[in-house]
């Protein structure tokens, strides 16, 4: 069996080198998938993992590859689904075995790992991955004010996120069932989600009287509502210099866990394109310049956002605090927030 895997690896290696020779023969995203796939198999062999576990990782990986299912037409936008959806729900993950500790999400061109160190070959691969991206962009970490990132958009967002309904709602559960995880683990039904959340909150340092409120808050607001500030940041012109609306974007990581005795939400997303005020679609090119585009093909990553939201509890009020916000732009054309701020201040002066 091991020999068989080695054969597969050789086969993949050949495909990759072929692809390097004639770049057109195989799409870049497919190349990346192959590189990762090879790495998974090699990693499994080197660590002498039991074979089922290697396959499990590999299948999990395949299931998470996103593919374009429906070509966009004049009336509808192209839709992306995962291979799992494509293969039908009878696929591997449906039989409730504990998922592999390795969580891989592959989104278009970008492949994410929750813990890169678990892959021996990750660093080598990472070099391969980064060569697809322009390196002349920028990276910016927002400064903290009293432990949180604060600006107009985040202040407004926070104010809107604090209230909860007097009667319990479970608005976030649909997102938990879709792609939100608890310490990397995804739950499939309401009861399990509630039980896991309760288990997590029990381990936090909130006062006992507050724990119920924290649970209620997450049940209501702990889903997609949380990342609305990204849309609002774009709309305020913070990241692009003018009003813009999200077009193509993917959440790569939506994970609740505990840090320093508090419930913490880790969020990563990649933005591929946006619409400007005149509803023109703007995308990134391989050289890092932003161009108008009407093509249906998936674009290169443009912005990568990494955020951490901590839940602070004051009396019976849960306050979501953005305690980390980092933005990478793969294009130098986008204004870096602090530089833009300085420019505006200079104009005002």
């Amino acid at each position: 069996m091991k020999a068989k895997i080695e054969n597969i690896i050789n086969e993949i290696d050949k495909k990759i080198s072929d692809a390097d020779e004639s770049n057109k023969s195989i799409p870049k995203s497919a190349q990346e998938h192959l590189i990762f796939f090879r790495s998974l198999l090699k990693d499994g062999l080197i660590r002498e993992k039991p074979l089922p576990s290697i396959f499990k990782d590999a299948i999990l990986y395949i299931e998470n590859i996103k593919v374009q299912s429906v070509k966009g037409t004049f009336f509808s936008k192209a839709r992306t689904i995962t291979m799992r959806d494509q293969l039908g729900r009878s696929a591997y993950l449906s039989n409730h075995e504990a998922p592999s500790p390795l969580i891989i999400q592959s989104v278009g061109h970008r492949i994410m790992l929750n813990d890169p160190e678990t892959l021996e070959f990750f660093k080598a691969i990472y070099g391969d991955l980064t060569r697809f991206y322009p390196t002349n962009g920028w990276n910016y970490t927002y400064p903290l004010e009293q432990g949180q990132v604060m600006n107009q958009v985040i202040g407004d967002w926070q104010n809107e996120m604090i209230p909860i309904n007097p009667s319990p709602t479970y608005n976030a559960y649909q997102d938990f069932k879709r792609n939100y995880t608890l310490a990397g683990k995804k739950e499939e039904d309401d009861e399990l989600i509630t039980r896991s959340l309760q288990g997590f909150i029990e381990q936090t340092d909130y006062l006992n009287a507050q724990k119920e409120t924290v649970l209620r808050w997450i049940q209501e607001n702990g889903g997609q509502k949380l990342n609305r500030f990204i849309t609002e940041l774009l709309a305020s012109g913070e990241l692009t210099g003018h009003y813009s609306a999200l077009a193509e974007a993917d959440s790569l990581l939506n994970d609740w866990s505990i840090e320093n005795g508090r419930m913490v939400f880790n969020y990563e997303c990649c933005i591929y394109s946006y619409l400007n005020e005149n509803s023109l679609l703007l995308k990134n090119t391989a050289t890092g310049s932003i161009v108008e585009s009407e093509g249906e093909d998936r674009s290169l990553p443009l912005l990568f956002i990494c955020a951490k939201i901590e839940l602070e509890c004051v009396e019976q009020r849960v306050i979501p605090i953005v305690s980390y916000l980092n933005v990478s732009s793969f294009s130098p054309d986008l204004p870096r927030p602090d530089i833009m701020e300085n420019n505006i201040n200079n104009i005002i002066k």
Binding site: G155, N159, I162, P163, A235, Y243, R317, E341
Partner: protein
């Protein structure tokens, strides 16, 4: 400038019966006008509505009858207030926005959820849940429709969905409070 009493008495002595009763009438009118003006400017509920210079100026000039205005506010008479405050179905009104950053933005644009604009900074403090993070209450002058007035008066805020541009923002060095002192002291 204070005109000496003697001089006023001298002028009045030239008036015939008809004209002196007119002066008395005008005097009585102003006495009442200022009495009601005083009521309007000192009453808390009235103050809510006359924060912006537009309404205050109109009250002082007598374009809005201060007595009717005061009584309408006390009885929450919305139809009368609408008539007094809205000559046209839409008018500018100075409302307050919580500003969370030290730099005042060029515009406020929030397409997803309407933004709450508050009647006063005080009503903002009671409604906004993260007041600790508010750096200042920024006045903005926006178009308010007569249909939104009842909500504004009762809740002390409106839900505003339009974009707020730099023309609407009242920057701190621009005068915002009406200067009423020289005209109200009698």
């Amino acid at each position: 400038m204070d005109i000496p009493k003697e001089l006023i008495g001298h002028i009045l002595s030239f008036l015939d019966k008809k004209n002196s009763s007119r002066v008395a009438g005008v005097n009585k009118f102003f006495h009442e006008h200022y009495h009601w003006l005083r009521q309007c400017f000192t009453d808390k509920n009235c103050q809510l509505l006359i924060q912006d210079d537009l309404t205050a100026d109109k009250l002082i000039a007598g374009e809005i009858n201060p007595k009717i205005f005061y009584q309408a506010v006390q009885t929450n008479n919305i139809p009368v207030l609408k008539k007094l405050l809205f000559i046209e179905p839409v008018r500018r009104w100075i409302l307050y926005i919580p500003l969370y950053q030290s730099r005042i933005p060029q515009e406020f644009h929030k397409p997803m959820v309407p933004r709450k604009l508050f009647l006063t900074a005080e009503s903002g403090k009671q409604n906004v849940l993260n007041t600790d993070c508010v750096k200042q209450w920024l006045p903005v002058s926006v178009m308010v429709s007569v249909n939104d007035f009842e909500g504004l008066f009762r809740n002390r805020y409106i839900e505003y969905a339009c974009k707020i541009t730099s023309n609407d923002i009242i920057y701190p060095n621009a005068p915002i409070a009406p200067s009423i002192s020289p005209r109200t002291t009698s």
